[in-house]
Every structure is written in C-alpha cells, then in structure tokens.
Symmetry: C2
Subunit: 330 residues, 2 copies
Amino acid sequence: MTDVARDIGVSRQLVSLVLREQPGASDETRARVWAAAARLGYRPHVGARALRQSASRQLGVVFVPTHATEPDIVEAIYPAAAAQGYQLVLSAVTATRTSAQAVEELLGYRCAGLIVIGAHLAGKAAAELAARARVPVVSVGAGRRNASVDVVRSAGDVGVALCVRHLAALGHRQIAYVHSASMSPAALRLSGYLKAMAELALQPAVLELHGDYTEESGAEAARRLLAERRLPTAVVTGNDQAAMGLILALARAGVSVPEQVSVTGFDDSRFARLSAVDLTTVRQDPVRMGAAAVAAVLRRVLDPKARPREVVIPTRLVERGSTAVPRSRS
Amino acid sequence: MTDVARDIGVSRQLVSLVLREQPGASDETRARVWAAAARLGYRPHVGARALRQSASRQLGVVFVPTHATEPDIVEAIYPAAAAQGYQLVLSAVTATRTSAQAVEELLGYRCAGLIVIGAHLAGKAAAELAARARVPVVSVGAGRRNASVDVVRSAGDVGVALCVRHLAALGHRQIAYVHSASMSPAALRLSGYLKAMAELALQPAVLELHGDYTEESGAEAARRLLAERRLPTAVVTGNDQAAMGLILALARAGVSVPEQVSVTGFDDSRFARLSAVDLTTVRQDPVRMGAAAVAAVLRRVLDPKARPREVVIPTRLVERGSTAVPRSRS
DNA sequence: TTGTACGCGTTATCAA
DNA sequence: TTGATAACGCGTACAA
C-alpha cells in the first residue's frame, strides 16, 4: 500500500480510504489510486486487515470435497456470502484429515462465523465447538434443533414420504426401503418412509445396509433383494448413489427398471439427471441450503445474543423414468 | 496469547517459544503452557503470524469443487503440504466465480505459492498470473512446458495409447475415439489415440463432441454411433463420465457392453470402480499429482531462482469388465 | 528464563 | 486532503 501511495504521491491512509470505498477523497484521486493499484498488482493483505480490525469479514466453511452434494452447497454459499461482503475460508475433511482438524485450522483465521457441512457436529461436538469458536456456528445437512449451533437441513422425511406416496399412487404395494444407519440424515429419511407406509396401511420392509450410502452399497442391496423369494415392485433408497448401484446391479441380473422394479433415489445429483439413468429422486436444493446457512450465521454475527435456530429447507419430488406403474399386482 | 501467559503467570514470549516448539523453556513450563492453551481454546492467529514473518507458510489452491477428479487431487495435496509444515488456502471456481476471481482472492493471503488445478492457465494467463503473484505458480492437469509456471500433468497420450493397444491385443480393429475439443487435456489424449492407431496401421475414427466431457456428451456419442451404418467394435473415450453415459445409452438401445462393443474410459473415477459399471479405464494417480504439485511449488519457494519444470505423472491401464474380445471380426 | 522494544500491513482517530 | 500516532497479535533480537 505504501508503494501505491508513493507511486502517485499521496498518503498511505488516503489509499486505504479509496480502496475501502470510503468517502473523503476526490474523484480524480480515486481514479489515480485504482489505476496505480491495478498497475502495481496491489491487493490488500487480508491478514493485516483482520488483525487491525480484530474481526475478519470471513466465514469458515468445513466440507468434504469428494462428496456428491457438499460441493454444490459450497458453490451456493459463495455468492450469498459475497453479497454481504464476506470472503470464504474453505477447510476440507479428507481421508487424512478429520473434521476436528479442519475446524481447528479455521479457528486460526478468527472467522466471523463457521459453516460446517455434513454430519460432523453430533450433539456433544457441536456444543464443544461452539464454546471453543466463540463465534456463531451453523451445521448444514445434519443435526437437530440445538442450543449451541444453528441447523440448516432438508426435509428428508418429507422427501422420502413423497417417494412412497408417488409409488403408491402408481399402484405399488410392496415398497421396500434401503437404509444405511451410519449416515446421520438417514434416520430422518427412514422415519418418513415408516410414517408414509403406516398412513397408507402398507407393510414396511426395511433393508439395512452396512457402511455408507455408496454405489457399492446399492449393489449390495440388489444382491440381497435378488436373494429373496420375491422382489418388491418398488424400492425407495435414501441416496442417489445407492439407487444407481441398485439399478445397475439389477440390470446385470436381468431385472429391468422401471419395467420390473421401480426405484427412487435421493439428492437429485448429477447422476440422476443423466438421460441414461433418468432417476426419479428427491431434490435437496443446495442453493437454498447455502443461502440459508449464510443468513443464519450472519444473523448471529450481527446479533450475538440471538438464539440458534433450525431451518428446514423443503424437498420436492423429481419424477423421471425410473418409476412406473407396476407390471402386475400380485 | 497474552491471556495464556497471564493465566499461568509467565511472559508472552515464553508462550510463543513453547507453542512454536523452540528450545528455551523448561519441561515443566512447556506442559503448563500447553495445558493452559488447550483450556483457554487458544490458537495462534495465522494473519498475525504471516504479517510478522512477511512470508506465510500457506499454499493457495484453486480448484473446481464440483469436478469429478479435482477434489481427489486437493485431498492428496493436504498431507503433502502438511508434511512440510504448510497450510492450504482453498479457493473455488464455480458457476458464479471465475478462476481469475479465485486467484485474486488468494493473492490477498500472500501465500508462499499457488497451485492451480484444471485448465485455467492457458499460455498468456499463466504468464500474467506468475508476474502478478510474485510467487511460484504450478498448473496441475493442463498446460504445457512453460517459462513462467510449473506444470504437473498426466501422461494422457500414453494412457489413451494403452487403451488402444489393449483393445488391439484383444482383436479389435474398428476402434473409435470420442473426443471433446473444448477440454484442454483432450488434445493430448487425442494425439495418443492417433499415434497408437497409426502404429498399429488401423484406420482412426474420431467422434468429436460439442461441449465438455459429461455423461450427457457420452449419451450424445452413443446416439451418433447408433445412427451410423455399423457400430465399431470398440470405443475409446477421453473421460469416465463420457464412457458411463455412452454405456448406459447403448444399454438402453439394446447394445450390450462388452459383448457387442468394448468401451474404455479415462480417470478411474469412483464410477469406474463400481462393480455394476466395471469400466476399463486409465488411472491418473491424483495422489502422485498432488504430491508432485507440492514438491514443485516448494522447490521454487525455497529456491526462487529455479526455473519452472514440467512433471509428467505416468498413467496406467486398469483392466476391468467393459472390454472383451470382439464377438466376431468383420 | 524474563522484560523491553520493534516491526509486519492495515485501519482508525485526530488535528492541521 | 495530509501527517502523526496508535493499535491489532505475533515473532524475534537483545540485554538482564
């Protein structure tokens, strides 16, 4: 900054004024400052700025970059934060890096608030982190109403219930559900299935998988369904990837979707939209989740006494080609 | 830090010493300092540290979070950087955020070096960025030998040639190639195809797609192949997602893989490994790319006079079930 | 081991 | 519009 000031022969603090778009400089000077800054390739030092202001205009974001949907939420957070003049500091959770480490690193930036995407903030961890961070924390995608962190999540139970009712409306009666207990939002989705089945007076059939919702687990589900005496006419899954694996494994076994079995997913990920996959699924709306997350942190940044809230983002059914009227009722 | 010092009644600089693991404090004091730091939830302020040292131990990383393979490289960069005591500052390229903006933001952190994943640094942009940043820049995945930035890339031409030779060894003679000109590494892959076909004295057949390598473009390739008089016995694609789309669209049209047509992909992404997809593909080794990228930046961080290099990471063929002996030679 | 003093780049306040 | 001065949190040199 000193270089810029010297270059055009003005004071350092005038340059600071101009770059922060504060009043107090003539239009002509403003133009010269901007020109000089561009010419010299000058950028304000974010660290120095944060230091001086004892409050950075930065939001920390914890996410899993290799996840199917988390990057979509990150993508939505960027413009929402930028609109309020905030930068993002991303911190990834990877195979070699725990969420605790990711959060720890963010604390060094003295962010104004933290957005944690995914199921890293189970009850106790949430409270500890919130106490530790001393700044508002938002958990996106998982967790329930909570005294220490805001929660932004999808209405997963409603989404699954929509699938069940859609299938029932098509005439299905044997509707199985593929469940993975290890995923935190899965419990909510399962409850939606059970509730919808009960309302329709249908017999629930839950297939519980080991491990995460991956394509492999969908294939495992297919193997287990095929091993049974009779296939259900429809399968609701809690995740697109599991649905994909299920469909492909069924196809290998000569069972066609949707002719013999209808299948639904959850997420409306990029796979689902593929014309070749054409999966009926539940859309999560990462854009609204990202915007809601930013709104939630900033609400508490601006009013530190505000209490954390729970924001539920609606889900909606996307009807595609993987569901159809059952071939025969039996 | 002052708080920690006051808490246990020692000087601020002693705390600094201990936390940086420098000699000059008794074991007993060390323990007390660490205990107090943990209890108070203290973390050094990265901005203040960078400011004081006029050289942050941070590496900036530009990447596309929604991309199929870039997050894998990011994941590999983390441990490689951590091993040398460097933190990462991630900056995402999204639909609403250009690579120029992503880089611009990183400059504010005064990173020791920049790693740009993807094809954002075409010739001129690379030189400009390198001049602007005043720190070493590495381009990962795209770009060619260059005076201003290091390049770490896969041997894409070799990888595609491996596919062609593998198919030829199985007995294939009509081997088509699905090409997408808009992707920067694609030219290299195409050249590998053409070279290998020439060496085998086979007639090349290049199917050029509009747009990126997406599942949709694979489906488009399938439609165009099906519209022709006769299908090739094998199709080499420059990307797993395109191969996936191709296979699924062929399946819908009643053409089975590998029985009627063999297909290869490129990337060994998560789809390819799926037992239901079981795609023969080329493995890019994101781990080695990430490690090489870190090594390349740090080489020039430590020796600013060093010239940029080009590092080529070998690729290898992963033989799976999407390729087989052609049903009949015709 | 401690205290003292300085500077990193920036913002903020004041009086001129 | 400017200059003087201080402060943010940290690292480091030096003397005690």
